[in-house]
Symmetry: C2
Subunit: 149 residues, 2 copies
């Protein structure tokens, strides 16, 4: 049996699936996965409504699940795929985790960390963006349009 190595696109698609799950539950649709050795070790979506906690962003929940999975406090060899540019809280959390690589889909011109400073992330964290950008943005727009009606 040959195991194919998954692509970044596959991982972002899995993050997007998490965002869709959030959407279905009436949560702001953002999803995230954490990848180590080409394998997803944590999946999460935004749960601020369900948990009644504004800190329950997809990234925070995925981080805590990843620490638990690897039994360590740092994610230097891991990547996170998230459907929206992290806010300053989440970027600060990724700093402490010393995340290896961050991939985000849609930019967040209002609350994205890069509006404050790119230095909110750890200097060793690589950053890539754009995969599933349109899909992720459309899902958010659909959510907020529904919320207004």
């Amino acid at each position: 049996m040959t195991l194919s190595v998954q692509t970044d696109e596959h991982f972002m698609q899995q993050a997007y699936k998490q965002a869709e799950m959030a959407y279905e539950k009436g949560e702001i649709p953002v999803g995230a996965v954490v990848v180590a050795n080409h394998t997803i070790i944590a999946r999460a979506h935004n749960q601020t409504e369900q948990l009644n906690d504004v800190t329950a962003h997809a990234e925070m929940l995925a981080l805590t699940a990843a620490f638990d999975k690897i039994g360590g406090k740092y994610l230097k060899e891991c990547s996170m795929f998230v459907t929206l540019e992290p806010c300053s809280m989440c970027a600060g959390a990724l700093f402490w985790a010393q995340l290896g690589k961050l991939h985000y889909a849609a930019s967040d011109p209002k609350r994205g960390f890069s509006q404050h400073s790119k230095n909110l992330l750890h200097p060793r964290t690589e950053v890539a963006s754009g995969l599933f950008q349109e899909e992720s943005k459309l899902l958010l727009q659909k959510f907020f349009a529904k919320l207004r009606t």
Copy 2:
């Protein structure tokens, strides 16, 4: 029976007691309390070692406990007293919580949110600092000195 209204100093002393508890457990000694209507509704100290989670800062744990206590997602009428200037992650969390007032004891010239931008906090959050500054700083210094030996 007359109930005296507690002072800011009392609340910071309670946050400092949390920091001492962290110290006793081998955690970086930072403590926080959340106050609503002159009453402490949440207390927490840093638990990054015990929970094996770099996001388990005193402020994050106190916030989640406070949301749970009040059954709401916003702390507009609340104050947080914390023994060290919040990092960017915690400041970002306080932003989402729309905290009414932040009191911190010691400044953090390395990781404090004000090193990045004062805008990490919500524009409505008032900020005060200095209470228990020396005590909180000394406790941290004592902790790191012990760690090095």
